[in-house]
Symmetry: C2
Subunit: 122 residues, 2 copies
Amino acid sequence: MNYTEFKHCGLNVALEVLSGKWKPIILFHLFHQQEIRFTDLWRNIPKVAKKVLLEHLKQMEADGLIVREERQVFPPEVYYRISEKGKALGPALAALENWANEHASAQVQELRDKKKVANGQR
Amino acid sequence: MNYTEFKHCGLNVALEVLSGKWKPIILFHLFHQQEIRFTDLWRNIPKVAKKVLLEHLKQMEADGLIVREERQVFPPEVYYRISEKGKALGPALAALENWANEHASAQVQELRDKKKVANGQR
DNA sequence: CAGTATCCCGCGTGATACTG
DNA sequence: CAGTATCACGCGGGATACTG
């Protein structure tokens, strides 16, 4: 068998597109909210630097996952929403979530606890 | 609505487990081969440093994705195979692959080309 | 052959201040 | 408010030599 065809490279592409510390939570919000203003998104994601959030959004827009809409007013208003291509990722993301919950519930619980602490919850 | 429950954290866990430059291709081989000796795996993944490959395998074993079997002979023989937990990732990985092929075929093709060049193919 | 020990480098992330 | 400019730092990944 010859593996030089790299049939897994679609997987690489998908993971690349998802690589970025805050992209999962960004997607989470956009999946649940249909449109969010930048500042609101920022406030809803504790501890991310504004610069980094903007970088991630820029990449995701370049990757076609999200749509950026700039309303020409002052002060500026910029809204982000999920694109069709982004929506299409939904099932795959859900599959990953399910896998984690079914096969790695310990790590999931760990992570949840860490985040609550980071957000000052009890 | 309150997002502090971080219902997406399963996704974070799954992506963490997959994070590592060579993990997709490692999984690819283990999904297709049922057991591989370390050196063979190494030869089949061009350009990865032995140290890095070992690190990845160690992490994947710690994450329960793969199983390491050491046969007590000289010279040493070590075989790796996918675990049940690893196998369970299959559908999710396939979903990501399909998404990439259906919605990001340009990037996929790009990546494929790059890899062929890296392997000295025409 | 499988694995470890060093040394190195670039990049992703972060803090902070500034601009239009 | 949205976005940019700097500066800094740790860590993932790579090259190479060594060990049991």
